[in-house]
Symmetry: C2
Subunit: 194 residues, 2 copies
DNA sequence: ACCTGAACACCGTTCAAGT
DNA sequence: ACCTGAACACCGTTCAAGT
């Protein structure tokens, strides 16, 4: 029983039974051990979920510098969102707490490098990276709760006199995600050109 | 005992005792009533917190169309963030579930109008508005948990060979928020000009 | 019919008691 | 010294029992 084995079992459990299965008690029951046994390998629940989240990002690819800074960022962040959504047990945690373990740091390094390649100064790299991560986190949270939130947004749209009319806002959709990401990448290009 | 009175009392309680005071049991204790009494006015906890969140946005101002679309959006969203941070009990809920009550709809209408004035087509207005709301939500969540997350980000920065070096990323700061908002507004301007 | 509060089905984590 | 599981201090919500 190692930290990695616990995290892998928890990830599989979450894939099977969803996010409400990710309690210390249910993970322990799945492992066939006492809940307290987990605390010998992780200081608390958040630390365990951080490890599970980082595991979920293992197969996200960084295309590297050859693909150009903007497609590189788009590929990484689209990959993070897709990977999180492939693992329903941990997606909400990825959204609430961007993983900064081994894989998170690897992908973060790719984003930093791409932003530097775009021409941003060091402070801009840090700010832009955090803005990108913030946006992905929120878009992911919306995708996780999609359906629930649709109705509320729909009402707001309807309350706007005349404006979008028949436009159906699909909160958390792939299209919605891509649009916002493009806005940020456009904005970064403007910032870098100054 | 009306829904509005319950929401106002809960907001005041949260201002005083923080977010962990926002449980049905503690709100009821503060009101001097049985926890179940609240359920006669709200179907569940989320509905109550939605009402509290909307109350917290009551004094956020929409400068209206005369100020130009970009400053108008910046003023509204900066105001939403500031208002949420002024109410520590409910800020996390605003971040997790953008309020779409009376005040949320009023401010949402301002954003929609501003985006239409910028020249976006109806579908673009809806997408851009959701991207803006997503960004504010995530930036707000980071501000709420500021301090906790700083250390992790700092480590990531340090792990990037050579890059930012002495740049200290302050997660959730006003400056960080403003930078990301500017990226989005820049991106919207690019999109509208197409 | 209305309303209360006991009870249900959980939590994360502490800590004392056992080995 | 190590490890377990009972216990603590909570949750949101249901529901039966009282008025």
């Amino acid at each position: 029983m190692t930290p990695a084995a616990i995290a892998a079992a928890a990830l599989a459990l979450g894939d099977r039974d969803g996010r409400q299965a990710m309690s210390m008690r249910r993970i322990a029951a799945d492992l066939g051990c006492d809940p307290m046994a987990i605390y010998r390998h992780f200081p608390n629940r958040d630390a365990l979920l951080d490890a599970v989240a980082d595991l979920a990002l293992a197969d996200v690819d960084d295309p590297g510098p050859d693909s150009g800074w903007s497609p590189r960022i788009a590929t990484i962040l689209t990959g993070v969102r897709a990977a999180a959504l492939r693992h329903p047990g941990i997606a909400a945690h990825v959204a609430a707490r961007p993983p900064l373990g081994t894989n998170g740091a690897r992908l973060g390094a790719g984003i930093y490098a791409a932003l530097a390649a775009a021409g941003l100064p060091p402070a801009g790299v840090v700010f832009a990276a955090q803005a990108l991560v913030a946006y992905v986190a929120a878009a992911l949270a919306m995708a996780v709760e999609a359906g629930t939130r649709d109705a509320r947004w729909h009402e707001v749209s309807r309350s706007m006199d005349g404006l979008p009319g028949e436009v159906m806002p699909v909160v958390g959709s792939d299209e919605q995600f891509g649009y916002g990401l493009r806005l940020l990448l456009n904005g970064i290009a403007v910032e870098a050109a100054r």
